[in-house]
């Protein structure tokens, strides 16, 4: 009697941090090391694991990098293109991908709200430092928590929060005091 085919056993799972994707996608001194790691995943030495929060952080860093490079805010199709690259890569690499919210709670959505803020917050160019500021993943997590806690204002010294007024009014302590 013929036995049914045995499904392949996944190799050891390696959680992949955001910067590994970034160094692989944007030319950098560490790109070749990231590439060798991903080639090992491709050969089956590891099974990659990541979550939607990685995409949030990646979008935060790359939106800011492109805004600084162009010295102007990005168009929405540029952000979509950034997202498409990492999603296609995760899919084609066979990386195990979790919605970060499902790992935390079957009810509450925290990370998807955070992702929405990172994707849509406005960049701000400070006349004080002449640099661009934009919320990143951890910043946006605070914005979600502040709104859920019922706060009316977000008191901070961090210019990254200037662009979150669609969600909560920033109280910029550098300016007020």
């Amino acid at each position: 009697m013929a036995h049914p085919p045995v499904p392949p056993v996944p190799p050891p799972k390696a959680y992949i941090d955001t910067m590994v994707f970034i160094y692989h996608f944007k030319k950098h001194g560490l790109t070749s090391k990231a590439d060798r790691f991903f080639k090992d995943i491709e050969k089956g030495a590891y099974a990659g694991v990541t979550t939607s929060f990685t995409i949030t952080e990646y979008l935060g860093v790359m939106r800011k990098a492109l805004t600084e490079a162009r010295n102007r805010p990005l168009a929405s199709n540029d952000v979509s293109r950034l997202r498409r690259e990492i999603e296609k890569f995760i899919s084609d690499m066979g990386i195990i991908y979790f919605d970060a919210d499902t790992l935390i709670s079957p009810i509450y959505k925290l990370f998807s709200s955070t992702e929405n803020i990172v994707e849509n917050a406005q960049p701000f160019r400070s006349p004080r430092t002449n640099r661009w500021y934009l919320v990143n993943g951890a910043d946006a997590l605070h914005v979600v928590l502040a709104t859920r806690a019922g706060a009316d204002l977000f008191a901070t010294f961090d210019d990254d929060f200037k662009g979150v007024s669609s969600w909560i009014k920033p109280l910029m302590l550098f300016e007020v005091y």
Binding site: K39, E42, K64, R81, E85, F89, I90, I96
Partner: protein, 115 residues
């Protein structure tokens, strides 16, 4: 979907519990995910009493379902790593203006508030 046996002591106020499955590797038993159930919360005991769970009091073993990934593991498409190496630098050539040091700063800013 995988199920995991949580060998937790029975506690009464299960509704306010939290799971800690982030134990150091050295404390983990092979193949067993342990969890700590901590009854705690914002509510007074009287309110918590209304969530009394006698099945836990009677020592019943509960099974937690692990959430399923949105994408499951499969063998990578051959050539994917090479195809995507430096992909953003090709799509957005202006990224060349961002030096390694500047990119490292942006990555550090992602997790740290020190500037």
């Amino acid at each position: 979907m995988a199920t995991i046996n949580i060998p937790a002591s029975p506690k009464r106020y299960f509704i306010f519990s939290s799971r800690d499955d982030t134990m150091p590797l050295s404390e983990k038993l092979p193949g067993v995910l342990t969890a700590q159930i901590n009854p705690s919360g914002y509510f007074s005991e009287n309110i918590a009493d209304s969530f009394y769970n006698e099945r836990l009091e009677l020592g019943e073993v509960f099974y937690f379902k692990m959430p399923a990934p949105m994408l499951r593991w499969h063998q990578a498409k051959k050539g994917t790593a090479s195809k995507f190496q430096g992909c953003l630098s090709k799509i957005f050539p202006e990224l060349e203006k961002i030096s390694d040091k500047a990119l490292d700063r942006l990555i550090n800013d992602m997790r740290s508030r020190e500037e």
